[in-house]
Amino acid sequence: MQKALKPGERNPGKGLPGRPEKFTTLSGVPVETLYTEADLKGFAYSRDLGDPGEFPFTRGIHSTMYQGKLWTMRQFSGFGSPGDTNRRLHYLLAQGQTGLSIAFDLPTLMGYDADHSLAEGEVGKCGVAVSSLADMETLLAGLPLEQVTTSMTINSPAAIVWAMYLVAAEKNGADWKKLSGTTQNDILKEYIAQKEYIFPPAPSMRLVVDSIVFSARETPRWNPISISGYHIREAGSTAVQELAFTLRDGIEYVEWVRRAGLAVDDFAPRLSFFFNSHNDLFEEVAKFRAARKIWARVMRERFGARDPRSWRCRFHTQTAGCSLTAQQPYNNMVRTTIQALAGVLGGSQSLHTNSLDEAWALPTEQTATLALRTQQVIAHESGVAGRVDPLAGSYFVEKLTLETERACYKYFEKIDALGGMVAAVEEGFPQREIHEAAYAYQKAVERREKIIVGVNAFASEEERPVDILVIDENVAKHQRQKLMELKKTRDNARVQSTLETLGGAASTDRNLMPYILECVRSYATLGEMCEVLRRVFGTYEEPAFR
């Protein structure tokens, strides 16, 4: 029998056969056998934690957290035609979902209409196809836009798709001042991780700045950006890299908007964040807690923000798509539950839970419903929603939170030394760091140092029992047809003139939002607007991978 460890005593050596030689978090951070008060020397409650709702918000941005209001259950959804997705959105609201989140297809994300040659094979596949205001009107038909909040995952052409949303909402009689929701609009993480970029960094940043400035004036309840670590993690980063690159992106946006003339407290309260939640429960909780603490300090100390709302890191969480396995897909339900629990214990403002079939395809109605039910069970049955930051005071969680914070500031120093995030991206720094981490993880899995149940351990030859959602190829035909009719019936002279005006404005430093809105109102298409901007801004190619 093993002797009990004394407080402060370290790893006693190897465990029994079959146990790992060393223990690390999922991201490879070494962990000790036991944590005690000796690990928290110098720890100060008011400096390191603070009460919930108080600076530095480590314990949460609200004093009562989920006792006051549950997180928003916001399932990401979008496929096929705007009509298909509209029906799914209505269905999800009827099932008790409390916020909307729209996924667009790849042509839309890349600024191509459904009838473009590069759109072939991709229309409606990874999300809903939206090429014009007409599609947006169909997509939003009958939805209570002043009551629900809508999140849209759109980045490079975010200003254009947001303008379509605003005009469609206005036509529905909704007041812009009452519209609430989020456009992802985070181009930096596209260069870093997801790679859905169109224009070079500088004009892309200008579009982001224009939309943040416009939003501060016209849509006070809208989050004009969701600064995202989700995709960074999906690309294979560690938890620390996810946190550090995301918050450093946030710093970059604040600097750019301030240079455009806004005071920090005039826009910082509407900045929002988006994180991944992976399998290692404690590592994730530590990351979420560190995120709030670091952002609060950055806003108060680096930028001198005075409004407490500017200090609060509000974030959405999505469970880790990259953790889902194609093998034994029902195991994914269990993974998602653990990850969702981490998101809740970490104090997320909204949450998306992945469906068990997503290593294969977009979810079916049945699996999407089950994913929503997972959140409902956590919210209403598990009891965790009744406590605020229940893991606070755990030697391990507090120590891990401090270590995460420290490692994050180290990355800030490196990126600051490179001249900021835009410069770091152009130099390929975060891309390389992520690739190294992804490769190391893959190797660890192949050496079976990291176990994935059903893949490199406990594998079985079971049948794949899930039905997969298949997107009808007729969606593409239907969307092309719709575009052809639109181009015949709209006032093409007006379209030409609004597009020319947009092109002219793009070459100046004027805010482009009003010009984009005019194009949208004339039913100019997404592809036509992006083409005008491509001509003025040029396009981006990433540094070669060696």
């Binding site: 990874c126 396995t325 395809a361 893959q442």
Partner: protein, 135 residues
Amino acid sequence: MMPDRRIRVLVAKPGLDGHDRGAKIVARALRDAGMEVIYTGLRQTPEQIAVAALQEDVDAIGISILSGAHNTIVPRICQLLHAEGMQDVLVIVGGIIPDEDIPKLKEAGVSAVFQPGASTEMIVEFIRGHVKQTA
């Protein structure tokens, strides 16, 4: 008999999708296994991929595709390779490819499809075992 020349592989990322984690990991693993790897970069059309394969005189092409557009894009790449007389070039596909799509891809000329969970070792072994190198 071991050929003198190292195996040359084109890792290609067609379609509009930018998720390149898998493509880059495979490219790196093939390099670590001693192969010469040319990575096309993102969003290459089938035509660009076929031209790169010809110019680089590769023995194998690995196509990474996660967006669901494989049924449209992969057969076109195979057709273009045939038209250029590159029927000896080994074509493999990796990504989110449902089982039911595999027969059609094989008919089009794909030698193997690596689905989620495949190891880099399996891919290396497959290429070594199936590539037809011209002396």
